[in-house]
Symmetry: C2
Subunit: 218 residues, 2 copies
DNA sequence: AGTTCCATGTCGCGG
DNA sequence: CCGCGACGTGGAACT
Protein backbone atom coordinates (compact mmCIF):
# COMPACT_ATOMS: atom_id res chain seq x y z
CA UNK A 1 0.00 0.00 0.00
CA UNK A 2 1.27 3.37 -1.05
CA UNK A 3 0.37 6.49 0.91
CA UNK A 4 0.75 10.01 -0.42
CA UNK A 5 -0.19 13.13 1.49
CA UNK A 6 -0.43 16.04 -0.90
CA UNK A 7 -1.88 19.41 -1.66
CA UNK A 8 -4.04 18.47 -4.62
CA UNK A 9 -7.17 18.96 -6.63
CA UNK A 10 -9.14 16.08 -8.12
CA UNK A 11 -11.52 15.70 -11.03
CA UNK A 12 -13.64 12.68 -11.81
CA UNK A 13 -15.49 12.12 -15.02
CA UNK A 14 -17.52 9.02 -15.68
CA UNK A 15 -20.86 8.06 -14.22
CA UNK A 16 -21.07 11.74 -13.34
CA UNK A 17 -18.64 14.63 -13.10
CA UNK A 18 -17.11 15.88 -9.88
CA UNK A 19 -14.57 18.48 -8.92
CA UNK A 20 -12.58 18.66 -5.72
CA UNK A 21 -10.89 22.02 -5.10
CA UNK A 22 -7.30 22.30 -4.00
CA UNK A 23 -6.56 21.15 -0.44
CA UNK A 24 -4.39 18.75 1.53
CA UNK A 25 -5.55 15.13 1.36
CA UNK A 26 -4.44 11.53 1.66
CA UNK A 27 -4.11 9.48 -1.50
CA UNK A 28 -4.13 5.73 -0.98
CA UNK A 29 -3.00 3.28 -3.64
CA UNK A 30 -3.71 -0.32 -2.78
CA UNK A 31 -1.75 -3.35 -3.96
CA UNK A 32 -4.11 -4.08 -6.85
CA UNK A 33 -4.08 -0.48 -8.05
CA UNK A 34 -7.27 0.73 -6.36
CA UNK A 35 -6.90 4.47 -5.81
CA UNK A 36 -8.76 6.45 -3.12
CA UNK A 37 -8.62 10.10 -2.08
CA UNK A 38 -9.46 10.81 1.56
CA UNK A 39 -10.08 14.13 3.26
CA UNK A 40 -9.67 14.61 6.96
CA UNK A 41 -13.37 15.32 7.36
CA UNK A 42 -16.22 13.35 8.80
CA UNK A 43 -16.55 10.67 6.17
CA UNK A 44 -15.80 6.98 6.21
CA UNK A 45 -15.77 6.76 2.44
CA UNK A 46 -13.24 8.42 0.18
CA UNK A 47 -14.16 11.62 -1.67
CA UNK A 48 -13.00 10.16 -4.95
CA UNK A 49 -11.76 6.75 -5.99
CA UNK A 50 -11.17 4.38 -8.83
CA UNK A 51 -11.57 0.66 -8.37
CA UNK A 52 -9.73 -2.14 -10.04
CA UNK A 53 -8.90 -2.84 -12.82
CA UNK A 54 -7.46 0.52 -13.84
CA UNK A 55 -4.43 2.13 -15.33
CA UNK A 56 -2.45 4.78 -13.47
CA UNK A 57 -0.27 7.18 -15.43
CA UNK A 58 1.99 9.43 -13.39
CA UNK A 59 2.99 12.55 -15.22
CA UNK A 60 4.81 15.49 -13.73
CA UNK A 61 2.54 16.76 -11.00
CA UNK A 62 -0.48 14.92 -12.37
CA UNK A 63 -1.87 11.43 -11.97
CA UNK A 64 -4.38 10.11 -14.42
CA UNK A 65 -6.31 6.98 -13.55
CA UNK A 66 -8.55 5.42 -16.19
CA UNK A 67 -10.53 2.24 -16.47
CA UNK A 68 -12.03 0.32 -19.36
CA UNK A 69 -15.46 1.87 -18.92
CA UNK A 70 -14.50 5.39 -19.90
CA UNK A 71 -14.13 6.67 -16.36
CA UNK A 72 -11.26 8.98 -15.58
CA UNK A 73 -9.81 10.28 -12.34
CA UNK A 74 -7.37 13.15 -12.59
CA UNK A 75 -5.30 14.17 -9.57
CA UNK A 76 -3.30 17.38 -9.82
CA UNK A 77 -0.53 17.48 -7.27
CA UNK A 78 0.71 20.91 -6.26
CA UNK A 79 2.91 19.72 -3.44
CA UNK A 80 3.67 16.27 -2.12
CA UNK A 81 4.04 16.61 1.65
CA UNK A 82 4.77 13.01 2.32
CA UNK A 83 5.04 9.66 0.64
CA UNK A 84 5.61 6.11 1.81
CA UNK A 85 4.74 2.52 0.96
CA UNK A 86 4.16 -0.67 2.91
CA UNK A 87 4.04 -4.32 2.09
CA UNK A 88 1.05 -5.75 3.92
CA UNK A 89 0.53 -9.13 2.33
CA UNK A 90 -2.74 -10.90 1.73
CA UNK A 91 -5.54 -10.07 4.15
CA UNK A 92 -7.31 -13.04 5.77
CA UNK A 93 -10.64 -11.23 5.28
CA UNK A 94 -13.59 -10.20 7.42
CA UNK A 95 -15.67 -12.77 9.26
CA UNK A 96 -19.29 -11.78 9.83
CA UNK A 97 -21.82 -13.14 12.27
CA UNK A 98 -25.46 -12.20 12.64
CA UNK A 99 -26.43 -11.38 9.08
CA UNK A 100 -29.58 -12.41 7.25
CA UNK A 101 -28.40 -15.95 6.65
CA UNK A 102 -28.26 -16.58 10.39
CA UNK A 103 -31.65 -15.01 11.06
CA UNK A 104 -33.10 -17.23 8.37
CA UNK A 105 -31.65 -20.28 10.06
CA UNK A 106 -33.04 -19.22 13.45
CA UNK A 107 -36.53 -18.76 12.09
CA UNK A 108 -36.39 -21.88 9.94
CA UNK A 109 -35.81 -23.88 13.11
CA UNK A 110 -38.78 -22.21 14.79
CA UNK A 111 -41.36 -21.54 12.10
CA UNK A 112 -44.15 -21.90 14.66
CA UNK A 113 -43.34 -18.34 15.79
CA UNK A 114 -44.82 -17.26 12.44
CA UNK A 115 -48.26 -18.64 13.33
CA UNK A 116 -50.02 -21.69 14.77
CA UNK A 117 -49.57 -24.89 12.81
CA UNK A 118 -46.87 -23.44 10.58
CA UNK A 119 -44.61 -26.04 8.98
CA UNK A 120 -41.44 -25.56 6.98
CA UNK A 121 -41.42 -26.99 3.47
CA UNK A 122 -38.00 -25.71 2.42
CA UNK A 123 -35.52 -22.83 2.62
CA UNK A 124 -34.38 -20.82 -0.41
CA UNK A 125 -37.17 -22.22 -2.57
CA UNK A 126 -36.36 -21.21 -6.14
CA UNK A 127 -38.70 -19.17 -8.35
CA UNK A 128 -38.00 -17.64 -11.78
CA UNK A 129 -37.46 -14.27 -10.08
CA UNK A 130 -35.20 -15.47 -7.29
CA UNK A 131 -35.31 -17.71 -4.21
CA UNK A 132 -37.98 -17.37 -1.50
CA UNK A 133 -36.37 -17.30 1.93
CA UNK A 134 -38.80 -19.81 3.46
CA UNK A 135 -41.62 -21.78 1.90
CA UNK A 136 -44.07 -22.95 4.58
CA UNK A 137 -47.51 -24.45 4.98
CA UNK A 138 -50.34 -23.94 7.42
CA UNK A 139 -54.09 -24.51 7.48
CA UNK A 140 -54.58 -21.63 4.98
CA UNK A 141 -52.34 -23.27 2.38
CA UNK A 142 -48.83 -22.34 1.24
CA UNK A 143 -47.00 -19.49 2.95
CA UNK A 144 -44.06 -17.62 1.37
CA UNK A 145 -41.85 -15.93 3.96
CA UNK A 146 -39.42 -13.10 3.31
CA UNK A 147 -36.98 -12.39 6.12
CA UNK A 148 -35.14 -9.10 6.60
CA UNK A 149 -33.10 -7.58 9.34
CA UNK A 150 -34.79 -4.27 8.54
CA UNK A 151 -38.25 -4.33 7.01
CA UNK A 152 -38.08 -1.92 4.11
CA UNK A 153 -40.26 -1.35 1.10
CA UNK A 154 -37.86 -3.23 -1.16
CA UNK A 155 -38.46 -6.42 0.79
CA UNK A 156 -42.21 -6.11 0.23
CA UNK A 157 -41.60 -5.70 -3.51
CA UNK A 158 -39.39 -8.74 -3.49
CA UNK A 159 -41.97 -10.89 -1.72
CA UNK A 160 -44.67 -9.59 -4.07
CA UNK A 161 -42.69 -10.75 -7.09
CA UNK A 162 -42.27 -14.22 -5.55
CA UNK A 163 -45.97 -14.47 -4.72
CA UNK A 164 -46.87 -13.52 -8.27
CA UNK A 165 -45.01 -16.53 -9.60
CA UNK A 166 -45.73 -18.98 -6.80
CA UNK A 167 -49.45 -18.26 -7.11
CA UNK A 168 -49.41 -19.57 -10.68
CA UNK A 169 -48.20 -22.98 -9.50
CA UNK A 170 -51.36 -25.07 -9.08
CA UNK A 171 -49.65 -27.47 -6.71
CA UNK A 172 -48.95 -24.63 -4.27
CA UNK A 173 -51.96 -22.31 -4.64
CA UNK A 174 -53.30 -20.61 -2.69
CA UNK A 175 -50.12 -18.86 -1.54
CA UNK A 176 -50.09 -16.05 0.99
CA UNK A 177 -47.13 -13.93 2.01
CA UNK A 178 -45.56 -13.18 5.37
CA UNK A 179 -43.01 -10.39 5.79
CA UNK A 180 -40.74 -10.85 8.80
CA UNK A 181 -38.29 -8.32 10.20
CA UNK A 182 -36.95 -7.01 13.46
CA UNK A 183 -38.40 -3.62 12.61
CA UNK A 184 -40.90 -2.92 9.84
CA UNK A 185 -41.00 0.63 8.48
CA UNK A 186 -44.45 2.27 8.34
CA UNK A 187 -44.46 2.64 4.55
CA UNK A 188 -43.39 -0.95 4.09
CA UNK A 189 -46.18 -2.06 6.41
CA UNK A 190 -48.68 0.08 4.54
CA UNK A 191 -47.70 -1.40 1.19
CA UNK A 192 -47.61 -4.95 2.54
CA UNK A 193 -51.03 -4.76 4.14
CA UNK A 194 -52.41 -3.11 1.02
CA UNK A 195 -51.32 -6.23 -0.85
CA UNK A 196 -52.65 -8.63 1.74
CA UNK A 197 -49.21 -9.56 3.03
CA UNK A 198 -48.96 -10.20 6.77
CA UNK A 199 -46.28 -8.37 8.72
CA UNK A 200 -44.53 -9.88 11.71
CA UNK A 201 -41.98 -8.07 13.82
CA UNK A 202 -39.67 -10.54 15.53
CA UNK A 203 -37.15 -10.03 18.29
CA UNK A 204 -34.20 -11.91 16.91
CA UNK A 205 -32.29 -11.67 20.17
CA UNK A 206 -35.18 -13.39 21.89
CA UNK A 207 -35.21 -15.99 19.15
CA UNK A 208 -31.52 -16.55 19.67
CA UNK A 209 -32.22 -17.15 23.35
CA UNK A 210 -34.76 -19.83 22.48
CA UNK A 211 -32.16 -21.32 20.18
CA UNK A 212 -29.45 -21.25 22.82
CA UNK A 213 -28.40 -24.29 24.86
CA UNK A 214 -29.32 -22.54 28.11
CA UNK A 215 -33.03 -22.76 27.46
CA UNK A 216 -32.74 -26.25 26.09
CA UNK A 217 -31.98 -27.44 29.64
CA UNK A 218 -35.62 -26.94 30.59
CA UNK B 1 -5.31 12.90 10.21
CA UNK B 2 -3.44 10.23 12.00
CA UNK B 3 -2.07 7.21 10.18
CA UNK B 4 -0.99 4.01 11.87
CA UNK B 5 0.32 0.97 10.07
CA UNK B 6 0.20 -2.01 12.37
CA UNK B 7 0.00 -5.73 12.72
CA UNK B 8 -3.42 -5.98 14.31
CA UNK B 9 -6.66 -7.86 14.76
CA UNK B 10 -10.03 -6.14 14.93
CA UNK B 11 -13.39 -6.99 16.45
CA UNK B 12 -16.63 -5.14 15.90
CA UNK B 13 -19.78 -5.62 17.89
CA UNK B 14 -22.94 -3.65 17.21
CA UNK B 15 -25.36 -4.04 14.35
CA UNK B 16 -23.69 -7.42 13.92
CA UNK B 17 -20.47 -9.03 15.07
CA UNK B 18 -17.32 -9.26 12.97
CA UNK B 19 -13.83 -10.53 13.48
CA UNK B 20 -10.74 -9.62 11.52
CA UNK B 21 -7.78 -11.97 12.07
CA UNK B 22 -4.29 -10.70 12.68
CA UNK B 23 -2.55 -9.04 9.74
CA UNK B 24 -0.85 -5.81 8.70
CA UNK B 25 -3.28 -2.97 7.98
CA UNK B 26 -3.65 0.78 7.85
CA UNK B 27 -5.59 2.49 10.63
CA UNK B 28 -6.83 5.96 9.77
CA UNK B 29 -8.07 8.39 12.43
CA UNK B 30 -9.68 11.50 10.99
CA UNK B 31 -9.80 14.90 12.61
CA UNK B 32 -13.27 14.38 14.07
CA UNK B 33 -12.39 10.97 15.49
CA UNK B 34 -13.71 8.79 12.69
CA UNK B 35 -11.69 5.56 12.73
CA UNK B 36 -11.24 3.29 9.70
CA UNK B 37 -9.23 0.10 9.17
CA UNK B 38 -8.02 -0.54 5.63
CA UNK B 39 -6.48 -3.65 4.17
CA UNK B 40 -4.28 -3.57 1.11
CA UNK B 41 -6.78 -5.68 -0.82
CA UNK B 42 -9.18 -4.85 -3.59
CA UNK B 43 -11.62 -2.75 -1.63
CA UNK B 44 -12.50 0.92 -1.68
CA UNK B 45 -14.30 0.68 1.65
CA UNK B 46 -12.60 0.03 4.96
CA UNK B 47 -12.93 -3.42 6.51
CA UNK B 48 -14.05 -1.92 9.80
CA UNK B 49 -14.80 1.58 10.97
CA UNK B 50 -16.52 3.74 13.55
CA UNK B 51 -18.09 7.00 12.56
CA UNK B 52 -18.47 10.14 14.60
CA UNK B 53 -19.34 10.83 17.36
CA UNK B 54 -17.34 8.22 19.23
CA UNK B 55 -14.92 7.79 22.06
CA UNK B 56 -11.46 6.32 21.55
CA UNK B 57 -9.64 4.80 24.49
CA UNK B 58 -6.04 3.80 23.91
CA UNK B 59 -4.81 1.18 26.30
CA UNK B 60 -1.54 -0.66 26.09
CA UNK B 61 -1.66 -2.46 22.75
CA UNK B 62 -5.42 -2.09 22.45
CA UNK B 63 -7.72 0.58 21.12
CA UNK B 64 -11.36 0.58 22.07
CA UNK B 65 -13.75 2.79 20.12
CA UNK B 66 -17.35 3.09 21.31
CA UNK B 67 -20.30 5.21 20.34
CA UNK B 68 -23.57 6.11 22.05
CA UNK B 69 -25.50 3.37 20.28
CA UNK B 70 -23.82 0.45 21.95
CA UNK B 71 -21.41 -0.24 19.11
CA UNK B 72 -17.85 -1.17 19.91
CA UNK B 73 -14.73 -1.50 17.82
CA UNK B 74 -11.74 -3.19 19.41
CA UNK B 75 -8.34 -3.04 17.74
CA UNK B 76 -5.59 -5.20 19.17
CA UNK B 77 -2.17 -3.95 18.14
CA UNK B 78 0.62 -6.53 18.15
CA UNK B 79 3.20 -4.32 16.48
CA UNK B 80 3.03 -0.75 15.30
CA UNK B 81 5.16 -0.57 12.16
CA UNK B 82 4.66 3.08 11.54
CA UNK B 83 2.80 6.09 12.83
CA UNK B 84 2.40 9.68 11.69
CA UNK B 85 -0.09 12.55 11.70
CA UNK B 86 -0.94 15.43 9.41
CA UNK B 87 -2.82 18.66 9.73
CA UNK B 88 -4.98 18.96 6.64
CA UNK B 89 -7.43 21.68 7.51
CA UNK B 90 -11.03 21.96 6.43
CA UNK B 91 -11.86 20.37 3.12
CA UNK B 92 -13.73 22.52 0.62
CA UNK B 93 -15.90 19.54 -0.26
CA UNK B 94 -16.91 17.65 -3.35
CA UNK B 95 -18.81 19.37 -6.14
CA UNK B 96 -21.07 17.05 -8.10
CA UNK B 97 -22.58 17.58 -11.49
CA UNK B 98 -25.04 15.32 -13.24
CA UNK B 99 -26.93 13.70 -10.40
CA UNK B 100 -30.64 12.94 -10.41
CA UNK B 101 -31.71 16.29 -9.01
CA UNK B 102 -30.13 18.08 -11.93
CA UNK B 103 -31.62 15.74 -14.50
CA UNK B 104 -35.00 16.28 -12.93
CA UNK B 105 -34.60 20.02 -13.18
CA UNK B 106 -33.50 19.78 -16.81
CA UNK B 107 -36.49 17.68 -17.77
CA UNK B 108 -38.95 19.67 -15.66
CA UNK B 109 -38.00 22.73 -17.70
CA UNK B 110 -38.53 20.83 -20.92
CA UNK B 111 -41.35 18.36 -20.32
CA UNK B 112 -42.32 18.58 -23.99
CA UNK B 113 -39.41 16.20 -24.71
CA UNK B 114 -41.53 13.54 -23.00
CA UNK B 115 -44.29 13.81 -25.59
CA UNK B 116 -46.42 16.31 -27.50
CA UNK B 117 -48.63 18.53 -25.39
CA UNK B 118 -46.99 17.47 -22.13
CA UNK B 119 -47.41 19.95 -19.27
CA UNK B 120 -45.81 19.94 -15.84
CA UNK B 121 -48.20 19.92 -12.89
CA UNK B 122 -45.57 19.68 -10.16
CA UNK B 123 -42.25 18.18 -9.13
CA UNK B 124 -41.87 15.77 -6.22
CA UNK B 125 -45.60 15.18 -5.99
CA UNK B 126 -46.21 13.31 -2.72
CA UNK B 127 -47.91 9.90 -2.51
CA UNK B 128 -48.28 7.62 0.52
CA UNK B 129 -45.32 5.57 -0.76
CA UNK B 130 -43.00 8.44 -1.63
CA UNK B 131 -42.78 11.41 -3.99
CA UNK B 132 -43.25 11.10 -7.76
CA UNK B 133 -40.41 12.85 -9.60
CA UNK B 134 -42.71 14.67 -12.01
CA UNK B 135 -46.46 14.79 -12.22
CA UNK B 136 -47.56 15.89 -15.69
CA UNK B 137 -50.61 16.09 -17.88
CA UNK B 138 -51.27 15.52 -21.57
CA UNK B 139 -54.24 14.66 -23.76
CA UNK B 140 -54.32 11.13 -22.29
CA UNK B 141 -54.74 12.40 -18.73
CA UNK B 142 -52.28 12.45 -15.86
CA UNK B 143 -48.71 11.26 -16.42
CA UNK B 144 -46.38 10.13 -13.61
CA UNK B 145 -42.72 10.41 -14.56
CA UNK B 146 -39.83 8.61 -12.88
CA UNK B 147 -36.37 9.89 -13.75
CA UNK B 148 -33.18 7.88 -13.33
CA UNK B 149 -29.64 8.22 -14.46
CA UNK B 150 -29.59 4.53 -15.24
CA UNK B 151 -32.84 2.74 -15.96
CA UNK B 152 -32.85 -0.29 -13.70
CA UNK B 153 -35.58 -2.63 -12.55
CA UNK B 154 -35.83 -0.85 -9.21
CA UNK B 155 -36.93 2.34 -10.90
CA UNK B 156 -39.77 0.51 -12.63
CA UNK B 157 -40.88 -0.93 -9.30
CA UNK B 158 -40.81 2.50 -7.76
CA UNK B 159 -42.93 4.02 -10.52
CA UNK B 160 -45.33 1.08 -10.35
CA UNK B 161 -45.91 1.79 -6.65
CA UNK B 162 -46.66 5.42 -7.33
CA UNK B 163 -49.07 4.54 -10.14
CA UNK B 164 -50.85 2.08 -7.89
CA UNK B 165 -51.73 4.84 -5.46
CA UNK B 166 -52.16 7.73 -7.89
CA UNK B 167 -54.60 5.68 -9.97
CA UNK B 168 -56.99 5.55 -7.02
CA UNK B 169 -57.24 9.32 -6.84
CA UNK B 170 -60.38 10.17 -8.82
CA UNK B 171 -59.20 13.69 -9.47
CA UNK B 172 -56.12 12.37 -11.29
CA UNK B 173 -57.32 9.17 -12.97
CA UNK B 174 -56.50 7.92 -15.50
CA UNK B 175 -52.76 7.97 -14.70
CA UNK B 176 -50.14 6.47 -16.97
CA UNK B 177 -46.43 6.09 -16.27
CA UNK B 178 -43.34 7.21 -18.11
CA UNK B 179 -39.89 5.89 -17.21
CA UNK B 180 -37.06 8.17 -18.26
CA UNK B 181 -33.36 7.39 -18.19
CA UNK B 182 -30.20 7.91 -20.16
CA UNK B 183 -29.93 4.17 -20.62
CA UNK B 184 -32.70 1.68 -19.89
CA UNK B 185 -31.63 -1.89 -19.18
CA UNK B 186 -33.39 -4.57 -21.26
CA UNK B 187 -34.96 -6.24 -18.22
CA UNK B 188 -36.24 -2.94 -16.91
CA UNK B 189 -37.73 -2.13 -20.30
CA UNK B 190 -39.36 -5.55 -20.46
CA UNK B 191 -40.93 -5.16 -17.04
CA UNK B 192 -42.02 -1.60 -17.73
CA UNK B 193 -43.68 -2.44 -21.03
CA UNK B 194 -45.33 -5.48 -19.47
CA UNK B 195 -46.94 -3.05 -17.04
CA UNK B 196 -47.93 -0.54 -19.70
CA UNK B 197 -45.26 1.96 -18.69
CA UNK B 198 -43.66 3.94 -21.49
CA UNK B 199 -39.87 4.06 -21.66
CA UNK B 200 -37.96 7.05 -22.91
CA UNK B 201 -34.19 7.15 -23.27
CA UNK B 202 -32.94 10.71 -23.07
CA UNK B 203 -29.55 12.14 -23.86
CA UNK B 204 -29.00 14.35 -20.85
CA UNK B 205 -25.95 15.96 -22.41
CA UNK B 206 -28.06 17.05 -25.36
CA UNK B 207 -30.70 18.32 -22.97
CA UNK B 208 -28.05 20.31 -21.14
CA UNK B 209 -27.09 21.90 -24.45
CA UNK B 210 -30.66 23.03 -24.98
CA UNK B 211 -30.63 24.39 -21.48
CA UNK B 212 -27.36 26.25 -21.94
CA UNK B 213 -27.18 30.02 -22.53
CA UNK B 214 -25.40 29.48 -25.84
CA UNK B 215 -28.48 28.18 -27.54
CA UNK B 216 -30.67 30.78 -25.89
CA UNK B 217 -29.03 33.40 -28.07
CA UNK B 218 -30.96 32.09 -31.04
C1' DA C 1 -34.59 12.97 16.06
C1' DG C 2 -36.87 10.21 12.64
C1' DT C 3 -37.75 8.94 7.86
C1' DT C 4 -37.13 8.99 3.06
C1' DC C 5 -34.43 8.08 -1.12
C1' DC C 6 -29.99 8.64 -3.83
C1' DA C 7 -25.39 6.65 -4.63
C1' DT C 8 -19.55 7.03 -9.22
C1' DG C 9 -23.34 3.20 -3.95
C1' DT C 10 -19.82 -1.12 -2.83
C1' DC C 11 -19.43 -5.92 -2.31
C1' DG C 12 -20.04 -10.80 -2.81
C1' DC C 13 -22.26 -14.77 -5.09
C1' DG C 14 -24.08 -17.45 -8.69
C1' DG C 15 -25.17 -18.27 -13.64
C1' DC D 1 -18.92 -10.61 -17.46
C1' DC D 2 -23.85 -9.70 -15.93
C1' DG D 3 -27.61 -9.97 -12.85
C1' DC D 4 -29.30 -10.00 -8.20
C1' DG D 5 -29.58 -8.96 -3.40
C1' DA D 6 -27.43 -7.62 1.13
C1' DC D 7 -25.07 -3.99 3.44
C1' DG D 8 -22.68 -2.28 10.33
C1' DT D 9 -24.95 0.16 3.55
C1' DG D 10 -23.34 5.87 4.07
C1' DG D 11 -25.08 10.37 3.34
C1' DA D 12 -28.26 14.21 2.40
C1' DA D 13 -32.58 16.35 2.38
C1' DC D 14 -36.73 17.01 4.45
C1' DT D 15 -40.41 16.58 8.33
Amino acid sequence: MRLVVADCSVDYSGRLDTHLPRATRLIMVKADGTVAVHADGSRVQPLNWMGTPNQLIEEDGRWIVTNGKGERLTIDLYQVLYETAFEMGEDPGLQKDGVETELQRLIAERVEVLGPGMELIRREHPTPVGPVDLLCRDSSGTVAVEIKRRGDIDGVEQLTRYLEFLGRDERLAPVRGVFVAQLIKPQARLLAEDRGIDCIELDYDGLREIDSPILKLF
